[in-house]
């Protein structure tokens, strides 16, 4: 019977008929022999049952003569009782009582370790995650100390067998040796360390291979050699039994005696039974250790993360908050457990507080696809808020089912301040640069216009050269200003229905002077196409950039611009017969400050920002941009814009 709350619940019965199992649990108030054993934590023996009132009807009908009830103890705690009935007249002797007590306690340990193992196994799925891991392994750890348990098992078995020493040797799969492990009963550290044997050697090897208990009344040479290596000099006889879990043999349990022929055949059978209980504890202990290691790894990982981590289960209730998360939010994890992030951290984006119905957490729980919110405001315990980057990712169990999400967040207050400062600096610097450039350009223009008196042709040419350089400087400043705006999301655009073919015509006209100067043919045939939805000024910027680049990077030949309708989009292609771009170059082409570097491009000026800006603008207008190119043959840049 197991003790649960204030009841003793029947678990297993043998030889008592089936009815006994259907009887109700015995409440504490009812007392009786079983409860007497629970309270006293000592065996209760009743050698004449005829004088005793037996509560159980099934038992009363069984006509038993004697009864022994022993408590099952684990670390001085009663977990249940075992009762043994005798029909025949029989007095339970003290040795009977001792033996039953040992068995009861062993069973208790075995039961608890099986329960722990089951608990662990049940939760194993969840263990890849951090959730209940903490609580489970902690509760198991306090409930059950494997090392202590194992030692107590080995010690009681050794004593029960009237041996002097007890040691467990486990099979090491790496070096294929059976090695003694701690804890051992009455062996020194060095003896444990040095007790090892091959699996085909001595009694240990034999037991391991055969899988049955064996006994040595006198040492054989092989066994003696093994024992001597471990300086176990006073061993004269040995009991050895395999530690089996299911069909697998984990190792061998030994009991040594300093007397020859200390053990009898009768002992061998009991020893075998008791060893099987040790096996359960050993295997659970392994599993436990493995899980414990996993837990420690996860825990240290979580603690060491500088970012806040909050995990929620499938019901969106919080099940974990790491140290950094506590520091960021001012909440203690206990305050958040079982609540949702909406009622506690109140994440709020630009559109307002995230809601259960439409939150990234809910979406990720459904789709499993991670999401990142670049800026969310999170409420602290004291009601203040801070800006955070907030990423949400699903966690999966062993069957790849979503079982929750993990949100990682970090306080970006400082980053934002720095970012603002950086942008302000760029913005002010570029604005300030514009003014002197305007001055230089203005004066050059005035000189060229003859406002300051006549200039000769040579001077004029030089001044025109200077005007060109100044213009490049001005373009560079514009690019930098644009980058700043795009990064701050300050670039404004108003998509309206517009005629892309007409805009292209205008731009081609504008750029034809440039093309003519380089002797490059600029080809474009205005097509009949539907309108696109885009910002005219920004689209203009895109076209000027792409066509301008094509002219810039083409030495001879032509630049062809074409427009075509494709599904719901209009695709614009700018094809040149220029230098072409290598595969590696193509990959980086649209990134910031990237410039194609070859001997030929060295002469061509630029900031490496144009294509990045172009890409940002196209994407802002719900379009795409890409490139196809063969080195030495030319490149084709394409971008799409949505149709009206």
């Amino acid at each position: 019977m197991f003790l649960k709350d204030d009841f003793l619940i029947r678990k297993v019965a043998r030889g008592l008929g089936e009815e006994i199992m259907s009887e109700p649990p015995i409440p504490e108030g009812k007392g009786g022999i079983s409860w007497q054993a629970v309270h006293s934590q000592k065996p209760v023996v009743e050698n004449d049952l005829s004088k005793t009132q037996i509560a159980s009807k099934a038992l009363a009908e069984g006509q038993f003569h004697a009864l022994i009830t022993v408590p099952m103890l684990v670390r001085h705690q009663v977990v249940g009782v075992i009762s043994i009935f005798a029909r025949k007249e029989r007095n339970f002797s003290e040795s009977d009582v001792n033996l039953f007590s040992v068995i009861a306690n062993q069973s208790a340990l075995a039961i608890i370790s099986i329960q722990s193992a089951e608990l662990l196994l049940e939760n194993r799925k969840k263990l890849s995650e951090f959730s209940s891991l903490n609580q489970i392994s902690q509760s198991v750890a306090t409930l059950f100390n494997f090392e202590e348990t194992l030692l107590s098992i080995i010690a009681t078995i050794t004593k029960q067998m009237e041996g002097d020493r007890g040691v467990l040797a486990l099979f090491d799969h790496n070096d294929k040796l059976l090695k003694a492990v701690k804890p051992a009963f009455n062996l020194t550290e060095s003896q444990v360390r040095d007790f090892r044997t091959r699996s085909d050697e001595g009694i240990t090897g034999q037991v391991f291979c055969k899988g049955t208990p064996l006994m040595l009344e006198k040492l054989n040479p092989e066994t003696q050699e093994t024992l001597l290596r471990a300086k176990l000099t006073d061993v004269k006889s040995v009991l050895a039994a395999p530690l089996k879990v299911k069909s697998q043999t984990l190792g061998v349990l030994h009991v040594f005696s300093k007397n020859e022929a200390n053990f009898e055949n009768e002992d061998l059978r009991l020893f075998g039974i008791l060893s099987s209980q040790a096996a359960v504890v050993v295997s659970s202990s392994y599993m436990y250790r493995e899980i414990e290691e996993e837990r420690k790894k996860d825990e240290s990982l979580l603690t060491s993360i500088g970012e806040g981590v909050v995990a929620v289960g499938k019901d969106e209730k919080i099940i974990l908050l790491n140290d950094a998360g506590q520091n960021f939010t001012g909440f203690l994890k206990e305050e958040l457990f079982g609540k949702t992030i909406y009622e506690t951290l109140k994440p709020t984006d630009k559109k307002g507080p995230l809601k259960v119905e439409n939150s990234p957490v809910g979406r990720v729980l459904k789709t499993g696809k991670p999401e990142v919110l670049t800026e969310v405001s999170i409420t602290r315990h004291d009601g203040t808020t801070f800006p955070a980057r907030f990423s949400v990712a699903a966690t999966f169990d062993a069957d790849d089912e979503i079982m929750g999400v993990i949100c990682v967040f970090s306080d970006i207050t400082k980053e934002k301040e720095v970012e603002v400062m950086k942008q302000e600096l760029i913005s002010i610097a570029t604005h300030e640069l514009r003014t002197p450039i305007t001055g230089v350009k203005g004066y050059l223009d005035m000189i060229l216009a003859g406002d300051t008196g006549g200039v000769n042709d040579e001077t004029k040419e030089t001044l025109q050269e200077m005007t060109g350089i100044t213009q490049k400087l001005a373009d560079l400043v514009d690019d930098l200003l644009n980058v700043g705006r795009i990064e701050q999301g300050r670039i404004e655009y108003k998509p309206v229905p517009m005629d892309l073919s007409q805009l292209t015509t205008d731009i081609i006209k504008e750029l034809s002077i440039q093309a003519k100067q380089k002797n490059i043919e600029l080809i474009y045939q205005k097509p009949e196409i539907p309108e696109v939805k885009a910002d005219p000024d920004r689209t203009r910027q895109v076209l000027i950039n792409l066509i301008g680049n094509a002219i810039k990077y083409t030495e001879k030949g032509s630049v062809t611009v074409s427009l075509e309708k494709k599904d719901q989009e209009i695709v614009c292609s700018v094809k040149d017969t220029g230098l072409g771009i290598s595969k590696e170059g193509q990959a980086k082409l649209f990134s910031k400050f990237y410039r194609v570097k070859t001997d030929k491009t060295r002469q061509i000026t630029g900031t490496g920002l144009g294509l990045w800006i172009t890409k940002q603008i196209v994407e802002m207008m719900a379009g795409k941009i890409w490139v196809e190119s063969v080195e030495g043959k030319g490149s084709t840049f394409r971008f799409s814009l949505p149709r009206v």
């Binding site: 604005h431 514009r434 003014t435 002197p436 450039i437 305007t438 001055g439 350009k441 203005g442 004066y443 223009d445 005035m446 216009a449 406002d451 001005a474 400043v477 514009d478 404004e492």
Partner: protein
């Protein structure tokens, strides 16, 4: 004989010199103000025929100057030409709402073009631009 009187409100000395030189060489009488307050004072004390106004100004920004000028009877109708490097759309929108005759980006136009614009505006060839 001076064609017309211009008030240039601009804080950058280099640019002031440049535009002043250009305006004067084209025969305009030029009054200079280096900050917003001075700009407003000079505009109301002795109303010019046209105000060339920058946006980013010390003491009082261009938009505020514009609003104050518009609130005075003497300068209520004085044409104001924006000449600035500040190109945020909301500023452009605000200036046109206040009745700016045009909005020029210093870095995009030559002094020659500025003068041409002023000339056209004063001759009445161009009215205020509606956007």
């Amino acid at each position: 004989m001076a064609k017309a009187k211009l008030l240039l409100v601009e804080d950058d000395v280099t640019l002031v010199k440049m535009y002043e030189r250009k305006f004067k060489s084209d025969g305009y009488e030029v009054e200079i103000a280096y900050d917003g307050e001075e700009g407003f004072k000079k505009a109301t004390d002795n109303p010019p025929d046209l105000i060339v106004l920058d946006l980013m100004l010390p003491k009082l920004d261009g938009i505020s100057v514009f609003k104050k000028i518009r609130s005075q009877a003497s300068t209520f109708k004085t044409p104001v030409l924006m000449l600035t490097n500040f190109d945020q759309e909301d500023a452009v929108f605000e200036c046109f709402k206040l009745g700016a005759v045009d909005y020029l980006l210093k870095s995009e136009v030559t002094p020659q073009e500025v003068v041409a614009k002023i000339e056209n505006l004063l001759k009445g060839k161009e009215g205020p631009i509606k956007k």
